[in-house]
């Protein structure tokens, strides 16, 4: 018989003891559910099956989660094997999500785990609605921004049914961080976007003319030479032939400037913007993330409010702090409102109403509906092209109950205004 994880004994006992001062924790809820049952039926999505992802998956299983989805669009590289411990040498080239899920199935047959070798953008809305919460072990700001905006929107449109807390972990060498994002309740990912340093870049003139570092030569080969020689082919950081070409070009250039140190791994690191990963930092952050998941699901103890920093490079320092919602946040800083209008009134009438509205008091609103630009105040060419919409009646442009995105110089970000036709039931 396959070995069955007995590591969950600890958490099972823990969930049967009532801790003092934790008001929300009940041994049996009004609905007759025990914390253990909540854990058993929780449906958790892990985004990313890399360094953090492997740790998160292991910790979730060992904490007693029974229903897990894992999504990752990447395949296993030989350089992953030192820390992504769910993978073996024979797995190189296979999808991370599938190999990780299979490992867990073998180790813990009682866990129901599903792999998705896909982009997060490719999963349907129903899938996200079926989840309890999301744990992210990502290495990309872009993916975090996407899931954050998507999940915020889900809560906005579905209320509690669409409320999916995101626990976001991140590591960089000896440093790490964690966020507990409760959509519509606290700061979202975009609220703290300014805190993330942009990708390291070098002035293009330095790259072109006065390289001093091997990185400058690699950027010259990848940013300037590659598009010049192969205008129709995108440089792929995972393609060995592509990186070898970069190494060859960069080495020649480095030699002529008396620079040394061009290697395959440095070239790939620069092209893919790889930050050195340390397995133990991943372990610390992943463990902290999974403990938050247990607390959110069972209410057994107070959860993180709402951000945590681990700076292992500065003599080990942990700091937890509440990050506030940003007024200028492009996701949750948007104002919400609704307006009644006649379906036969024109877009120009609506704009006038937005300006005269006692709450909104806009000065020069520009409006879009989904992908359609309804009216732009500026620049000239967009104004001219959208001007014909001004005289169109609203029911020719959108249906009653539609939500428009409005920007205006008086708004820090934008206003989402839902327009209801007062002469028609929506």
């Amino acid at each position: 018989m396959a070995p069955v994880a007995s590591c969950t004994t600890g958490i099972e006992r823990f969930l049967t003891l009532k801790a003092p001062h934790v008001e929300d924790f009940e041994l049996v809820t009004e609905e007759g559910e025990t914390p253990q049952q909540m854990l058993d039926k929780a449906n958790v999505l892990v985004i990313g099956a890399g360094g953090l992802g492997c740790e998160i998956l292991k910790d979730l299983v060992m904490s007693g989660f029974k229903n897990i989805h894992v999504i990752d669009m990447d395949t296993i590289d030989v350089s992953n094997l030192n820390r992504q411990f769910l993978f073996r040498k024979k797995d190189v080239g296979k999808p991370k999500a599938e190999v990780a899920a299979e490992f867990i199935r073998q180790r813990s047959p009682d866990v129901n785990i599903t792999a998705h070798y896909k982009r997060i953008q490719d999963m349907p809305e129903e899938f996200y609605l079926s989840l309890s919460l999301i744990v992210c072990g990502l290495d990309s700001i872009e993916a975090r921004r996407w899931i954050n905006a998507f999940i915020y929107n889900l809560a906005e449109r579905h209320g509690y049914e669409g409320f999916k807390p995101i626990i976001d972990g991140g590591t960089e060498g000896l440093r790490g961080n964690m966020r507990v994002i409760l959509p519509k309740h606290n700061a979202c990912f975009d609220c703290g976007l300014d805190m993330y340093p942009p990708k390291t870049t070098y002035p293009i003139c330095t790259i072109a003319n006065t390289p001093r570092l091997p990185e400058h030569c690699i950027e010259w080969a990848s940013v300037l030479e590659w598009p010049r020689i192969f205008p129709d082919k995108k440089l792929d950081g995972d393609d060995v032939d592509h990186i070898n070409w970069v190494v060859e070009q960069a080495s020649q250039r480095a030699a002529s400037f008396n620079i040394s140190g061009i290697t395959f791994s440095l070239a790939q690191g620069v092209v893919k913007n790889i930050i050195p990963a340390i397995a133990s930092t991943n372990a610390i952050i992943a463990a902290a993330c999974v403990n938050e998941a247990v607390k959110l699901i069972t209410s057994c103890n107070k959860y993180l409010d709402n951000s945590m920093l681990y700076t292992g490079d500065a003599g080990v320092y942990f700091f937890a702090y509440p990050l506030f919602q940003s007024e200028t946040c492009l996701v949750c800083g948007q104002k919400e409102g609704s307006m009644d209008a006649l379906s036969t009134s024109t877009l120009e009438d609506l704009i006038t109403a937005l300006k005269e509205h006692s709450v909104f008091q806009l000065k020069a609103p520009s409006l879009t509906y989904g992908e359609t630009s309804l009216y732009f105040q500026k620049p000239k060419m967009l104004e001219e092209q959208t001007r014909p919409n001004l005289s169109k009646s609203l029911n020719d442009l959108f249906d009653s109950g539609s939500t428009l995105t409005v920007t205006d110089p008086t708004l820090p970000t934008s206003l989402r205004v839902t327009v209801n036709f007062s002469d028609k039931a929506s």
């Binding site: 929107n153 309740h185 976007l193 003139c205 500026k378």
Partner: protein
Amino acid sequence: MRKIWDKKKTDVQAQKAQPPKESPAKIRLQKDLSELEISKDMEIIASPTNIMEFSVVYRPQEGYYSNGEFKFQVSVSHNYPHEPPKVHCVQTIFHPNIDTEGHICLNILREEWKPVLNIQSVLFGLRMLFEAPNPEDPLNKEAARLLIDNEPEFARTVSSSMRGRMIGLVQYDRVLVSHSNYY
């Protein structure tokens, strides 16, 4: 988790029929574009069907590049404003900070980009580049050297390049403003 949700009374009306919200990048760009203060010497060529790609036309009124008409392709990614917009000069021009393939060496487009900057800042940066070319950080070394060593000759070379002449081994694009669309 029901208790966590209920802690904050948020009115959520049933809006299930709504299309998903626009990307934060697009909302920010809508704000940037619709609030641009554009002077007469610049123009934005954009289409309401896809605002993420647009062109900038700049006709400097003074300096080495006056009477020229310079075109830039701007492409804004879905990671804007975390990432800067990509700006490319579509013509082959003789400029110390722009190479003959159209790469532009402007600090705010790369290493000095900050999310608080916007399209207005990019237009300002482009203007600075043509009003005061910077030979200290060159991309076209030949042009930079000429500007440092022999400024009158640089000015003559710029105007000859703008007429579409050949300089060295490079055929430059004719970029003189045509009077029909000059205003």
